[in-house]
Each structure stands twice: as C-alpha cells, then as structure tokens.
C-alpha cells in the first residue's frame, strides 16, 4: 500500500509513527473517530503543507489565467480559432492530473514545477471557455454604443467588452480555482508536497485525514470567497453564477 520511500515526500517518508509519536492518548492508539487533543497538540504540523498547497494553487491559476486570457484575446477577432483551441485545451483538461505528473516526470523531473505545469494545463479549458462566453454575451447594443462614440477595436475591447464580461470570467476562475485546490492534493505524487503530503503519510489515521482534508476544503471556500468579493468590486452592477 505504501509506495517506495524515495517516491514520497518528507512527511510521508517518516511514516505513521511520526504522526502518532507526540501523543500517547488512547484515542490515537485506537484510531478514534476524531482525537481532539491530538489535533490541538499537532495542528502546527499542517501549517507547512497548507502553505505549500497555496503555493501550488495560486501560480497554477495565475499562469492558467494569463495563457487562457491571451488565447481568448487571440481568438476574439478570429472566431475560426475557437474550435481548435477549445479542442486542444479540452485534451489537456481531460488527461488526469496524476497521469500528467508522471508523463512530465522524465521531462521536468520531480517537484513543484511539474505539479504546477499539470495543474495549469488543467485550468486552461475552464478559464478559456468562460472568457470566450463572457465576450460573446456582451450585448450588441453596448458594442454599438462604443462604436458610435468613436472607439477603436482595442478601446472597445478594454473599455466595453472586457468589463462587461468580468462576471463570466470570474465565474470561470472560481470553478478553476476550487477544482485546482481539490486536485492539488494529488501533487504529493509529483513530489510537490501540499496537503496531500500528510494525508498520504498515513491514510488510515482518521484524525489526520479529517484535518488535512478539511483544510483543503476550507482553502477552496476561502479562495472562492475572495473571488466572489473581487467580482462584486469589479462589476457591482451584476452577479452571475458559475456555469
């Protein structure tokens, strides 16, 4: 069940004993449903994995957004580019992250870079599709008004179309971010740490699984909340649900 030591990051290498050593309460010995005193005593062990997790998610979504944004602008006035880009990002989206990690291994080696490349590739499709949909849903009347005011294509894009597309764009970012937080638990297999690290170190220790898994869910909720607030600030005139 446990993989070779060199495959797993530091915490996982230390094994179950590392997790249980600091407590001799009966709860931990019996692997009780949730050991509150162990959790209180050992919470500090989860700080580094949580920070690592954030440092996997943030770069992945930011780079994914930059690439998807570029692709969306590229295909905005060249509609024929939309199907091939959707297809290509669709393949990247479909390839399971865990397989992606190991396909990249011979090329980029083990570690954070490999995990971020795979997670970035995963976000492209979601973000790209939402930017394209957002730009396509801009009311023709708004576009016409802009033109009537003498705007160039570029001014129209940055002052009319993109601001009106903000709710859809952020809806896409929310889906991409929340999914990436969840997927990043698998980054432990790429040797990139994160909250998957303590989970994988002892997947039978209930308290450990609940704390690490719970932190991953809380992280997803926190990022989602930040994006909701961002959207309200950027486009106070409209709210939209992620599709």
């Amino acid at each position: 069940m446990t993989a070779a030591a060199h495959l797993t990051p530091i915490l996982a290498q230390l094994g179950p004993e590392f997790f249980k050593e600091r407590s001799d309460t009966g709860c931990v010995q019996e692997n009780g449903a949730f050991c509150f005193s162990w959790a209180a005593d050992n919470f500090d062990r989860y700080v580094t994995p949580t920070l690592e997790h954030v440092m996997l998610v943030v770069p992945s979504v930011v780079i994914g957004f930059a690439i998807a944004f570029g692709l969306a602008l590229l295909s905005h006035r060249r509609r024929w580019l939309v199907p091939p880009i959707t297809g290509a990002t669709g393949v990247l989206y479909t390839v399971p992250s865990i397989a992606f990690f190991f396909l990249l291994l011979p090329i980029t080696g083990r570690g954070t870079d490999t995990a971020i490349i795979a997670l970035t590739a995963y976000t492209l499709q979601i973000i790209y599709r939402n930017i394209v949909a957002g730009l396509a849903n801009v009311p023709p009347a708004a576009r016409d008004s802009g033109r009537g005011m003498g705007m160039t294509d570029r001014q129209l894009l940055w002052r009319v179309e993109l601001p009106l597309a903000v709710p859809e764009i952020i809806a896409g970012l929310r889906i991409a971010t929340v999914s990436t937080v969840a997927l990043a638990t698998l980054a432990v297999f790429a040797g990139a740490g994160g909250l998957g690290d303590p989970i994988y170190a002892d997947i039978t220790f209930k308290t450990n699984v609940v704390i690490a898994g719970g932190l991953a869910v809380l992280l997803a909720i926190a990022f989602d909340g930040i994006l909701i607030v961002t959207q309200r600030l950027l486009s106070p005139w409209r709210t939209v649900r992620p599709v």
Binding site: T94, I98, A99, A182, I203, K206
Partner: protein
C-alpha cells in the same frame, strides 16, 4: 534542451512502451510484471470500478435531478451540490473512505460515486429547467400526463446537457480510480503507486495507459452525446448562426 536530455526522455518513453508490450521481472524480484496481459487485466479492473461508480452515481443522481428539474424545486440545492462537488479533494476522499470504512471494491465504488453524483445531478437539473417552456406547454396541451411530459419531452430535449454532466463525472471517476489501489482495488494506478514493484518505466507506462483510457472514454461519450441529441435540436442549432 541538449541532445542528451532529449535522448534520456526518449529512453524513458520507449522503456515505458516496452513495459506495456513485454513482460519483465519485477524490481522486487521474482514476480513477472508488465506486458499486455497485465495491462489488459488492470484496464478491465479500472473500467469495472469506474463503471460501477458511474452507474451508481447515475442511478442516484438522474432520477433526483429529473424530478427536481421537472417540479422546478430545489434549485439552490442542486446548484450547491454541484459547486460543493468540485471542492472535494480527491486524495482526501479516498483516504477518508480507507480510514473510516476500510478497503475493498464496495468502499472504492462508494468513494468514486461521491464524485459522480454532483455533476450529473446539477446538469440534469439545469438540462430540464432550460427546456423550452413552449414545448412543455404544447405537450401538456396535447394531453400528456406529467410523467409523459418529463420522459417524452423534457428528457430528450435535455439529453445533451445531461450527457455533459455524465462526461464530466466519467472523466473524474476514471481519473480518480487511478488512486484506487490505496483502497485495495488494483486498477491501472497500481503501476503508478507501486513504483518499488514496477520501476520507473512501469510508472510511466501506467500514466500513459490512464491518459489513453480517459481520452478514449471521453471520445466514446462525446459520440454517445451526439447520438442522444434529438435531430430537431441539431437542426435548430444549425439554423441559428453561432
């Protein structure tokens, strides 16, 4: 990239391909591993587990989504489940099942079913809600019973969107079935997770097999989606310039 790096990448991948086609002795000695026989064996196990989980997810989510969508009730719930589903950390879910329920095919199926339900439920609900209200009223006007309206009008017209949810669920289930060896079900992920047995080439071979499997299933389901899309909808879409 220097030619040396390229050569080593090429070596890794050709070694992995060799692992898929030819048996060899395990890194731990003794056992014969790899080769088409074992790849096929694990692929079947992978598909069996994924199929069970997807089937269970469909059996649970489809009726609920259809009924909620038809009655127009529980929109908040249906959408919230879809959003919450995305936040489920795959590895934590698997570990949670191992820690609290234990290993085995049934528990693995349950874990993956949890991933299958949200996209199917949400897409089914949305699919039924977005069916043209005029078509529904026309069906009622023709004297159809509510169950007929749902099954003969709303279900076919919502089928493409429902299939989108099924595809999302299938991809997620097959991808996560890769770590099912942690729950004691020996899928293609065994090549990846037990590197000490299969070696580096086995790990890469496992990654290649999983990626191919998902892409093939995705293509098949895209074909199914096309098949279940009513001709009327296709004509309508063709008539309206995108």
């Amino acid at each position: 990239m220097s030619p040396f790096v390229l050569a080593s990448i090429f070596d890794s991948f050709s070694g992995a391909i060799d692992f898929i086609f030819h048996q060899r002795e395990a890194a731990t000695g003794g056992l014969q591993v790899g080769g088409l026989d074992q790849v096929w064996e694990l692929t079947k196990e992978h598909l069996k587990l994924s199929g069970l989980a997807l089937g269970a997810g469909l059996a649970l989510a489809l009726p609920v989504g259809l009924v909620l969508g038809h009655r127009g009730r529980g929109e908040g719930l249906a959408i919230a489940i879809g959003n919450a589903g995305r936040a489920i950390p795959e590895l934590a879910l698997i570990a949670f099942v191992v820690a609290y329920l234990g290993v085995g095919l049934l528990n693995a199926t349950f874990a993956l079913m949890v991933l299958a339900v949200p996209p199917i439920l949400t897409n089914t609900f949305v699919a039924i809600r977005q069916v043209d209200r005029d078509a529904v009223e026309a069906a009622r006007g023709m004297g159809m019973r509510e169950s007929e309206v749902l099954l003969k009008v709303e279900l076919p017209l919502g089928a493409p969107t429902i299939m989108t949810g099924v595809r999302t669920a299938a991809i997620n289930v097959i991808a996560t079935a890769t770590i099912a060896p942690l729950v004691g079900v020996v899928t293609l992920g065994d090549f990846i997770i037990n590197r000490n047995v299969y070696g580096d080439e086995g790990v890469l071979a496992g990654a290649i097999c999983v990626a191919l499997l998902v892409l093939i299933v995705e293509l098949l389901l895209a074909g199914v989606q096309r098949l279940v899309t009513p001709r009327g909808l296709k004509l309508q879409r063709a008539a309206v310039p995108a």
